[in-house]
Amino acid sequence: MSTFKYIANFVEGFKSNDWNLKTSEGVDFPTRKTEYYKYTSLKKLSTQRFASISSKVDARKVFEGLDDYATVLVFVNGFFDASQSKGLTDQVSVVSKLDSCPAFLTSQKNVDQLFTSMNNRFATDGLVIDLKGVLKQEVLVLNILDASGMASFTKNSIRLDKNAQCSVVYKTISTGQNLEQFSNNYFEIELSDNAILWFYNLQNGTKALNLIEQVESHLSAGANLHYFCISKAGKLVRNNINNKITAPSAEVNLYGIMLGEQGSHIDHHTLVDHDTPHTQSNEIYKIINKEASTSVFNGKVLVRPDAQKTNAYQSSSAILLDDASNVYAKPELEIYADDVKCSHGSTTGQIDKEALFYLQARGLSKTTAKKMLIEAFLTEVTDLIESEKAGVLTSQMIQEYFS
């Protein structure tokens, strides 16, 4: 295992080939000219010095309600903390790069080479779910980021056997305030026939958090992925959510909420690759921006020539709470089959003034009224959350956004 070395900055570390990515893996450092990073500049990362740092954090202090979960996995700065974790079995466990690594999917052409390569090289520990049957209770995973100037990398894998079902609540908690933090997490998701996974990714950032995550999912016949991700704040947050459907009747559902504040930059990049007939994808993204923050939604749907009868739906809607904030929404449809139903829509607007006045005219303060309207705007997504626990955690984040 090579831990992440203290480096002057990202570009320098890359240029000097300290990471050995440029030559051995032929990786380029993305710039704004790279289409994939058109709206998100990695320059934001480049001035910062990061290193792998281990730390001790009392999980109970940063996450209320730990005892409500039967299975808890705590990672601090990318290192598994066994003493605070519980409920591990041979089906829900942890892998360390020091152990023999399960073979990660390599079949997919990776679009975000830099971070995937870095993750391959520097990942410390990671969650491994290898499940047969149905897990009734949510698995809680805490990705706690402590200490400033910290960089962490985890590589996680979730494989559900035929008909298996489970629900994962993955929460990133950043305690950094002054110096920045960098967290990179890779998730490989493999769903066999008729398996169902609910993945709730709760990214609770601070001004100091740089978070780059990649999901690579692969669905077999009749499988169902429900991937929900809420991102709040963070200096730079980038989610690459790539999904490949290779057997009929499978369904990918991606739901997202971006809550931008204090100059944050949040970017969700999705890809759904329909590679077989009779499959479905649904994407609903809700975006709120305030305090000169920026959000990006880029949703690519690829329907390959054989993928007849594909049903792909995508929508993103944004509310800008001030003029200094921005949103970029870009649907990308590449459709090579003719008998398909694909639709997409994106809207950007302000709070409905008439509705705001109506609520105020009934005695609600402007702040309360705004909050009520925004919560209403988000219900299209929050209503889809099936886990009560994940629902509570999500509404907590929404409340925090207003406080």
């Binding site: 006045f357 105020q360 005219a361 009934r362 005695g363 309360t368 309207l373």
Partner: protein, 249 residues
Amino acid sequence: MLEIKNLQAQIEDKQILKGLNLEVKPGEVHAIMGPNGAGKSTLASVLSGREGYEVTGGSATFDGKDLLDLDPEERAREGLFLAFQYPVEIPGVNNTTFLKTAVNEIREYKGLDPMPAKDFLKLLKEKQALVELSSDLAKRSVNEGFSGGEKKRNEIFQMAMLEPKLGILDETDSGLDIDALRIVANGVNKLKSKDNAFIVITHYQRLLDYIVPDFVHVLHDGKIIKTGDKNLALELEEKGYDWIKAEKV
């Protein structure tokens, strides 16, 4: 209670209210009638604090306070209620949750503790019965998918819940069927007391058969040009507005 003196207001540089005078005392019901575009809704908007209107002259005080200086929510908390001519639909905002928040924010303003959940539910049921609003409607998103008449009934339901000192009803009767009209009017009559007052804006004398006004005003071209008792409404129903306009010149 409400004292409007020489009120002048414009929207987008267009003068709409041109020196309007009106005094409303506790226990009174005032009807305001007048042709389309006369400025009736504008008056209601200016009084309730809607954005986009510029007051260019005159004053309006509510229980001695300068009404025009208050935020819309402060006016509501002081006891002003506007039943909108065109209530907006607010998808995703639950009618009951919204009312509970309104009730409690008003109570907080008055220095009272939040209403216990049990009492709130009791009040909700009681007022629902008063305006015969189905509990299904009360639980839905605010006005979303409501029929025109249901929206109006929801306005009166909200008014009943908030028990304002002054209720302004802007054409609450239009769009109501005959039964609904009677129900809404009954609701208003039951809410009426010696301490509160109502301004009823309407085009039809029919409503005034149920809600009997103490005064009937005719608003024309941004001013009140005639005031009478309930018989004036009957006269208007019969003769229209032209004779008053003619009288004026």
